[in-house]
């Protein structure tokens, strides 16, 4: 759940920013359906949403509204160490090794924002609300885009607050959680074809930051995971955009460095290319590589209890690569249909032996191999080993 929770607001945030930038554009109405599917019978999300961006002109400002309804189902790693040496059954279902727990949830969300231009400033406010079986999120934000340097630069400022309540379905106890985020950015138009954007953000999280469904093996038993009740997250982002006039194409390149006081460091490199073909088609291939280090209190198992312990793979060291393609077609000048898909391959860097018949093995002593006679291999495993497929179909109407 948390994975999608983290991802979906980003979409909303991205739309908010987009809405703000297109303040002088016409109104749009978007309908989109996103399918998200992890390999191995893990999480699946079906996410239809509608987005309305109503422009009331220079004096009236602009109102946008995003409504989403996610259906989340599948299985999620429990954090348990794969301790089974095998399974006994009547039919011999092969076993891999990461303990999973089934879950289902739905998430209803609404985000509304309003922006109005005042001279060189384009301030906006937004309010958001979302509800899952076990999670309630309420957020509010204020941003300003301040045009400077005779229109060649824009200073972005933003504050976003969220007051959430986590109510695990296992205990029905409410736990508050809050998030205060601050962002500062500078966009610079370089000549007619280039755009450079430098921004940074700081997010202070506090309250209940555990994942209530994750466990940690400690000694011969397992206990619920426990994380610190505060987290400071920082991110720096450098974006560069270039417009190829002759080719009628745009390239967007970005690099993001992330760090937090849980010791996670992450690098993201993103590439997006938009190619217009004639007046109707747009082809947008994209690629992303990502790597992160683990949190200081991450471990697959602990010999003795520690204050903070988690075996959640999202706090482990992992890397991933993603490729995607979106094709958009303008049925009419004001009506665009788009189809997109991405494929992401993720692999854990922190790995564990599925069985520990040999006492502590250094990971470096690992040698996998297949001697070519059709026998399989034993491999270390990681709950982060995943491939993720997404598909999107959308319709945009400008009026």
């Amino acid at each position: 759940m948390a994975a999608t929770r983290a991802r979906l607001p980003l979409i909303a945030a991205g739309l908010g920013a987009l809405a703000a930038r297109e303040a002088r554009a016409q109104s749009t109405f978007d309908v989109r359906y996103l399918l998200y599917k992890e390999s191995g019978g893990r999480t699946e999300v079906a996410n239809p949403w509608v987005f309305l961006n109503q422009n009331f002109g220079l004096k009236g400002g602009q109102l946008s509204l995003l409504l989403g309804y996610d259906t989340i189902s599948g299985a999620s790693p429990t954090g348990g160490y794969p301790t089974l040496d095998g399974t006994t059954s009547a039919s011999g279902v092969a076993n891999s090794s990461i303990p999973l727990a089934q879950y289902e949830d739905t998430r209803k969300s609404v985000t509304a924002s309003y922006a109005h231009k005042f001279g060189a400033h384009l301030p906006s406010i937004d309010l958001s609300y979302s509800k899952e079986n076990d999670y309630l999120a309420r957020g509010a934000g204020v941003t300003d885009a301040w045009t400077l340097a005779k229109g060649r630069g824009t200073l972005h400022l933003g504050v976003s607050l969220s007051r959430d309540i986590v109510t695990p379905v296992t205990t029905h106890v409410d736990h508050p959680k809050s998030s205060n985020a601050y962002a500062l950015g500078w966009s610079w138009i370089l000549g007619a074809k280039d755009l450079l954007d430098l921004s940074g953000s700081y997010t202070a999280l506090s309250g209940y930051l555990d994942d209530p469904y994750k466990i940690v093996p400690v000694g011969a038993t397992t206990v619920p995971e426990h994380r610190p009740d505060a987290r400071s997250r920082y991110a720096a982002l450098l974006k560069y955009g270039h417009f190829f006039v002759d080719a009628n194409a745009a390239l967007k390149l970005s690099y993001r460095y992330y760090w937090d006081d849980w010791s996670i460091r992450a690098h993201t490199l993103d590439l997006l290319y938009d190619q217009r073909l004639g007046s109707r088609w747009t082809l947008s291939p994209s690629a992303r590589v990502y790597t992160q280090s683990h949190a200081s209190f991450f471990g697959y198992s602990f010999a003795t209890p520690q204050t903070y312990m988690s075996a959640d793979y999202r706090l482990s060291a992992l890397h991933s690569a993603q490729g995607g393609l979106t094709i958009a077609y303008a049925i009419r000048p004001d009506l665009v249909i788009s189809l997109g898909a991405t494929y992401q391959y993720q692999r854990g860097i922190d790995r564990v032996l599925p069985i520990a018949a040999v006492p502590p093995l250094p990971a470096s002593a690992l040698e996998d191999g297949d001697d070519g006679d059709g026998t399989g291999t034993i491999e270390t495993v990681s709950a982060a080993d995943l491939s993720i497929l997404t598909g999107t179909i959308g319709l945009t109407w400008r009026y």
Binding site: T88, G92, A365, E367, G376
Partner: protein, 327 residues
């Protein structure tokens, strides 16, 4: 074969191969180098495949196919190993009061599970004369099915036998720690090597991507499971599965899964099958009355019943232990 080699020389080897319509996995720890381990792994696989080719009714040239072709015609000369297996299956039939029968396979002509069709009682009744372990004659190194059309099926015992043979081969090669798992029938050899017991998950018969609980065995043991989910269909809200009561020709009722821990996989498999066919109460009584075995039964309603000694061999009472995605 894959190897995990620690600096000390002891390494964990795993080999995996297709066997009897499923997967065979052999894992063992050895300190004598990769070459030696490769030879042991190859020998283990060869032994498992030898047993499949020799005893599978699906293999044209198996001794079982030979016996079946000659049903009602002539006794077939067989070796000691075959006599041993046939006699073991006949002893099992007698011990079950006829519920288990190595000639029950002929009912497959009426029970076509892939078609999900409930047979007419008359179809079953027409075949029942061919289900008769008392008409299997084992004499002077020959096996003879007295009635034409009868079929012998050692599938009920052959897989567990193969598991034990491979485990014994590993022990004979000086391997001190190993786990043999052929499609859910398990035998351990020695301890795990780290002081912890072997941990074998018991599949949830109604959610086959997870385990209901785990069985823990400290040293050499056999663990086997009989369940109603291997071949089945549901018609009119009723589950029809392949574990047929040979006396009636219809699926045994009351249980969805029985797991037994015994000294060998063969013994565990034998008791799991018998307990399944006997049903909840009699099945548990059988396991409780068998001093060298422990077991847990999962009813059709999902309730778990275990023998008293199972308490020290499992993490029951059965909270959902873990879920396992298919590979």
């Amino acid at each position: 074969m894959a190897v995990l080699s620690p600096s000390g020389g002891r390494a964990l080897y795993t080999t995996r191969f297709a066997l009897m319509g499923g997967t065979g996995v052999v894992r063992f720890v050895d300190a004598r180098g990769r070459e030696r381990a490769t030879a042991i792994a190859r020998a283990a696989e060869a032994e498992a495949l030898r047993i499949e080719w020799k005893f599978s009714r699906f293999r044209e040239r198996s001794v079982v196919s030979e016996i079946n072709r000659n049903a009602g015609r002539t006794p077939v000369a067989v070796d000691e190993e075959t006599v041993g297996l046939v006699e073991a299956s006949l002893a099992m039939a007698r011990a079950s009061g006829g519920r288990f029968d190595p000639t029950v396979g002929v009912l497959r002509r009426a029970w076509r599970f892939a078609e999900a069709r409930v047979p007419e009682p008359a179809e079953i009744d027409a075949l029942r004369p061919l289900v008769d372990h008392a008409s299997v004659s084992v004499r002077d190194g020959t096996v003879f099915l007295r009635r034409a059309g009868m079929e012998l099926d050692l599938g009920g015992v052959g897989k567990e036998y193969a598991v034990d043979r491979v485990a014994e081969l590993l022990a004979g090669e000086g391997v001190e720690s190993a786990l043999v798992n052929f499609s859910g029938d398990v035998r351990t050899v020695g301890g795990r090597g780290d002081g912890r017991p072997w941990s074998i998950g018991v599949l949830d018969p109604r959610a086959r991507d997870r385990c209901r609980f785990a069985v823990r065995v400290p040293g050499t043991a056999g663990v086997a499971t009989s369940g109603d989910y291997e071949r089945f269909f549901v018609a009119g809200g009723v589950r029809y599965h392949h574990l047929l009561d040979a006396r009636t020709g219809w699926p045994a009722r009351g249980l969805s899964s029985v797991t037994v821990v015994a000294a060998t996989a063969f013994e565990a498999g034998r008791l799991a099958t018998l307990a399944f066919l006997l049903g909840v109460e009699e099945g548990r009584s059988l396991l409780e009355a068998t001093p060298w075995a422990e077991g847990a039964l999962i009813g059709e309603d999902g309730a778990i019943l275990a023998t008293r000694g199972m308490a020290r061999l499992s993490d029951l009472p059965g909270s959902l232990y873990a879920a396992y995605p298919g590979v």
